[in-house]
Symmetry: D2
Subunit: 357 residues, 4 copies
Amino acid sequence: MPRMKAAIFVEPGRIVLDDKPIPDVGALDALIRITTTTICGTDVHILKGEYPVAKGLTIGHEPVGVIEKLGSAVQGFTEGQRVIAGAITPSGHSAACLCGCPSQDGGVNRTGFQAMGGWRFGNTIDGCQAEFVLVPDAMTNLCPVPDELTDEQVLMCPDIMSTGFAGAESGRIRIGDIVAVFAQGPIGLCATAGAKMSGATTIISVDGIAGRLEVSRRCGADITLNFHDVDPVAEIMRLTDGRGVDVAIEALGTQGTFESALRVLRPGGTLSSLGVYSTDLTIPLGAFAAGLGDHRIVTSLCPGGKERMRRLIGVIRSGRVDLSAMVTHRYKLDDIEAAYDLFAHQRDGVLKVAITP
Amino acid sequence: MPRMKAAIFVEPGRIVLDDKPIPDVGALDALIRITTTTICGTDVHILKGEYPVAKGLTIGHEPVGVIEKLGSAVQGFTEGQRVIAGAITPSGHSAACLCGCPSQDGGVNRTGFQAMGGWRFGNTIDGCQAEFVLVPDAMTNLCPVPDELTDEQVLMCPDIMSTGFAGAESGRIRIGDIVAVFAQGPIGLCATAGAKMSGATTIISVDGIAGRLEVSRRCGADITLNFHDVDPVAEIMRLTDGRGVDVAIEALGTQGTFESALRVLRPGGTLSSLGVYSTDLTIPLGAFAAGLGDHRIVTSLCPGGKERMRRLIGVIRSGRVDLSAMVTHRYKLDDIEAAYDLFAHQRDGVLKVAITP
Amino acid sequence: MPRMKAAIFVEPGRIVLDDKPIPDVGALDALIRITTTTICGTDVHILKGEYPVAKGLTIGHEPVGVIEKLGSAVQGFTEGQRVIAGAITPSGHSAACLCGCPSQDGGVNRTGFQAMGGWRFGNTIDGCQAEFVLVPDAMTNLCPVPDELTDEQVLMCPDIMSTGFAGAESGRIRIGDIVAVFAQGPIGLCATAGAKMSGATTIISVDGIAGRLEVSRRCGADITLNFHDVDPVAEIMRLTDGRGVDVAIEALGTQGTFESALRVLRPGGTLSSLGVYSTDLTIPLGAFAAGLGDHRIVTSLCPGGKERMRRLIGVIRSGRVDLSAMVTHRYKLDDIEAAYDLFAHQRDGVLKVAITP
Amino acid sequence: MPRMKAAIFVEPGRIVLDDKPIPDVGALDALIRITTTTICGTDVHILKGEYPVAKGLTIGHEPVGVIEKLGSAVQGFTEGQRVIAGAITPSGHSAACLCGCPSQDGGVNRTGFQAMGGWRFGNTIDGCQAEFVLVPDAMTNLCPVPDELTDEQVLMCPDIMSTGFAGAESGRIRIGDIVAVFAQGPIGLCATAGAKMSGATTIISVDGIAGRLEVSRRCGADITLNFHDVDPVAEIMRLTDGRGVDVAIEALGTQGTFESALRVLRPGGTLSSLGVYSTDLTIPLGAFAAGLGDHRIVTSLCPGGKERMRRLIGVIRSGRVDLSAMVTHRYKLDDIEAAYDLFAHQRDGVLKVAITP
C-alpha cells in the first residue's frame, strides 16, 4: 500500500510530519496531489489543544493541487486538472445545502443541520497538509484553476478569502456604507478587501501592528487606526460625527473586538462576526440599546463549494484584489514543523506561509 | 387656554391623572382627540422608574382618535377623520427614514441615527393617555380607520401588533419554517400571529401561564409549552428531532428567554429579539457555536408610519387575525390610575386594558 | 429482464400505455415503485406535440411511491420507505445548484446553467406514469412521507403546489399586500393558497369557470372575479381605488393574462409569472411606464429537491392548506389513456386526476 | 417681483431662455440659487415633444447650488449652504415613500402610488435650468456638498450616477458576477461604474462609439465590444463559454438593446433595465425560456432623496469612481440654447455639458 507524508496531530502541543497510507478513492471522491497548501489560525488552535480533533488526523484545510484519481461516479472533471477545493466541503445534497446553509451541512444520515458540519478537512476527515488529500463529494467541491494563475495566487481562496469576503457579504454592505473592520490578520485583511469590493466608501481598519495596517491600506482601508495610539471606539465615533458605522466586522474572536464592533455601530447597523471565540460573550446593555436599536449580529462560517471557489478565483483573475502580499514565508512540507513554530508565534511579520511538498 | 386631562409621570412610582393645556398645533402637526388608548409594558417600566422620562410628561403611545385640528402645512387629511398613529412616529425626512430604518430616526438636526429616536410619544414628547395628543409629522403618521372597524379592533396596531409582527418579519420566516416564540404576553402573542401570517407551519410557543397559552393557540401556535411542566429547550429539541428551529422569537427581555431562544436555534437559524432588556446579555459559547454557526441575532423596534398602520389594519380587516381577545379589561381615563395598578401587577389575567375618555 | 407498464410518448397525439424494461439502478439513483401519480398540463402540451420529447419516453413528473432499490452510493434512506420526489430533480452539485438556482441545473459536464435543465422526469429521462421510476441524484431528491398523510394528500407537492407557492414566494409577498392571481387552474389555485400563506390580506383571483372560483375561495381568495361578468383589469383598479396591486401572479401562460397582470400592478409592484408561454410576449409601453415604474417581472420554474418537498409536506401536515379537493378524478394506470382524454379536454370539471397502478 | 432667467419649454422643438418670477417659498420648500446644472437625455425627449410637459415649464432636474431661502417649517439646514438635490424629489411622507418605493411617490392627496410620481423638477414643477429653483420637501431632499468637492464633481449625482448605480443595485450584482452593460452613454457609463462598485469581476460593455468605449474602460469595463465590429450577443455567449451573464443592464431604451440583454442572460439571471422606452417591447419566447428560466426583469427610476445623494457624494469623495471625464463641454446659462443644440445632436463627442449662470 503506497504511503505519503502528512502533518498529523499527535497530542496538544504536537503536530508532526509522519507517513500514512494514501487513501482509497470512494465513488464520489477525488484524490488530489497537493502542490501548495498553508497553515490557518485554526490549525494553531488545534495544535494548542484548544480545538479537539482525533489523534492521528491529518491537519489542514486549504488545498491547491492536481487531480490524481477520480471516484467511479464522479463526472465533469479529468485526472491531471489543477484544482482547489474550499476549506468547507458541503455535500450538495443535505438539508442544510438545499436550505441555503451549506456550511452547516449535517451529513447524509440526518434530516437537519450540524454546527460547522460542513468543515471536514482536518476536522472530521484527513486534511491537506500532506502529499495527497481525498476530497469528498468531489463534484460539489472541485474547482479548476486557470493556467494563468499561480498556486500562490489562489491559495487564499479556500479559506481566508472566502471567510473574509463572507464578512462583507453577510453584513450586506451597500454602496456608500461606512465600515469598520476590527483586527487585520489574514481574515481581517480579506474582510477589508471584501468590504471594498462590496461598495463601502469609507473603510476604517483597526489593529495594533503597523505592518498589518500598511497591508490593510493596500487591501482597501481608507483610514487605519492603531489601537496603541488611539481608542478605536472613540476615534471612530469622532470620525463619523457621532453617527457610527453601517457595518462593523469582527475578525479576531475576542470579547474586546466584539464589544468594540457593537459600540461603533449606528442604530440599525450590522455587526458581522467572523472570529472564532473561546469564551462566552457579553452584549453590553447600552451599546445594544436595550434590544431596541434594530441591530443585527450575524456570524459566518467560511462558504465552500466549487461555485464559491470559481467566483473568488474570478476576483483574483480580474485584478480587482491582489492578495499575493499575504504569503510572507515559504516552506517545504518536510519543514512544516518549523512553519508551525513560526506561524504559531507570529514571528517575523508572518501573515501566511506557503507549504509545498 | 383650554385644558385637558392627562396621565402624567410625577416621579418613580407615581403616574397621576392631572390636567394640562391642550397643545398648540404646529405647521406639520395634527391634534387628535383620543377616543381609545391603552397601557403598555413600557409604561410600567416608566412608572417604576426603570426607564427615565421627564417629570410632567404625558405617558402613552397607542392612540386611536379623531382629527381635531390639522397644522397649516398638512395635506391629505380632513378634520373629523378617525385615525390611528403608530407608537413610533418617524419624521419621514431623516437620514434614518431614507436609509430604511425609520424607527431609529435621528431628528431634523442630525445627519445620522439615534437609538430609539423614532419613539417620541410618552418618551420625548407628550403621549396619548390624555384627552388630546399632538401627532408630529402628521402626513407621515396619520392613518385613517375604516368605519367597519371599532376602536378596540385597531387598538393593538400602533404598538403590540406592529412589534410582534416585526419579530416574525425581521426573522425572515419562510413557508414551512419551524418557529419557537418565547413568552406569550401581548407582544409574544402577536409574534405568534405574525409567524403564522408569514408561513410558519410549526409554531411552538412557551409561557408559564396556562391562560396565555390558550390564547396563543387561538393566535396560531401549533404546540404550547408551559415551562412549569417541561424544560422548553429540551422539549423543543426533542420535538424537532435534535434539529432545532429555523427562527426563535424572544418576546420578554430576559437573559433566560434570550439564551433559551439561542439554544433551540438550528445552525443557520435566526434569533429575532423583541424584548426590552434591563441587563447586559450573555451569549453562551456553545449555543453560539463559537461564532461559526451562521446564526443571526436581529432586534426590532416597533415599526411606525401610516403605511405600516394601513397594512396592519388590512390584516385585521381581512379577518386573518383576530386580536380582540387581547382586550381583557376596560377603564375610563378618569380611572387610569386603577388601570395602571391592575396592569402593573398583572392581576386578573389581564392582557391589555382599553382606556376611553 | 423484468418489464413494467409505462405511459409512452409515441408521436404527437399519441401517448399510449406500453411495457418497457425496469431500469438498472446507478450508483446515485433510487428505483421507486410508483403508488400514485398524476397528469400535468405540461404532459398535455407533450401529447399535442407542442413541447417536443423523444419518442419512446415515459411521461410524467409527479411521483409518490416506495423505494424499491437504492444505488450503491446512496446513504440516508432505506428500501421500503414511502417517498416523493419533486418534478424538478436538481443534482445538488452543479454550478446552478450552488449558485441558488437549482431548477436551472446545467448537468455535470457543464460549468454553467441550462434553461429548465433541472426538469428531467418525462423530459430528458423516463418519467413516472409507470410502475417504476428511476430517481437521479437520489440523496438530493427523495423525501420521506409521514405515515399520517395519504398519497393523495402529498400528490400536489412535486409540481403544482411547489410551482404555485413559488409564484407567491418569488413575488416576495409581504404581510398586508394586495395580490391578484390570474387563472385558477391547479397552479393558480396553489398560487392563491401560497399568497395567503405569505401574508397577503386581499387576494383577488380571476377565472372564467365558476367552479374554479369556488375552490379559489376555499384556497384563500377574498374576492373572485369571473371574466365573463366583469373586465378584471377595470374591476381590480376600482377595488383598489386606482392604486393597483402589490403583486400580480400570472398562472396561465397567455399574452392576455400576462398583460392584465401588468396593467393592474402598482408602480413598484411585482409581476410573478408562472405560466408556460407559447408565443412571444408584448409589454405595453404605458402599462410598463416606459420602463420607469420600478416594476419587476419575475419567472419561476417549479422548485425541487428534498428540502423543498419536506417544507411543502409540512404545510399539508399543519393543516394550513388543504389541497385534497384538487383531486377530482381517479384512474388505474391501465386506464391512463382515458385519463389523458378527460384531462386534455378539461371535461367534467376536472382539476387533477390521481393515477394508481 | 424679482425675476430670473430660465430655460422654458415653449412647444415641441423649442426650449428657450426667457425670464420669469423667482418663486415664493412655501413652508416646506427651499429656494436654491443654481451654480451648476446640466442637460439630460430626457430633456431632449421633452424638446422633441416625445415626452409632454406643460408649456412655460422650466426644464432641468440636476441642480447644484446654494440655499437662498428656507421655508418656515424647514429645519436642519442654513441659508448659504452649498447643496444638491436629486432629480427625483420624494416627499418622504407618501405611502410610496413609506413602502420602500419613493421614486413612485403619489403625492399628498393619494394613498397610493403614481408611476414616476417622484419626478417633479422639469416635469410637474419648474426645474433647475434657471437662476433659481424651488426644492419641494426640502428636509427630505437637500444634501450638503463638502467643500473639498467642486460643483462639477457632484454634478452627476442627482440623476446620471444615481440612475446608473441603481441599474447595478437593482440587478443585485454579487461579488464575482459577470455583467453586460448595453449602451455606454452617460447612464450606461455610470452603470458600468456601479457594476464595478458592486463586485462584478467581468464587465462587458457594448456601444458603437469608440470614444465611449474608451471612457467605459476607465469606468470599470473589463471587455468592450463595438457593435459595428462584432455581434454583441454572439460574442458575449462566446466569451462566457455559452453560459451567459449573471446580470445584463439595458441603458438605452430600445427593443434592440432590451432583447440583446435578454439573449445573453443565463437562466436565473437578471435583466436590469434603465432605458426610457418609446415603443411597446417584445419578449422573444426562446430567450425567455417560455417563462421557465427563473429570469427577472427589473426596472429602476433614478432614486432620490438626501440620503441617496449623501451616499453618492461619498463615492465621489472616496475616489473609488471618477466621473469628471463625463463633463465634456461647458456653457453659460445664457447660451443654453446652443448647449441643447450640441447635446441633442450628440456632436463633438459630447457626454455631458455643464451649465453655469
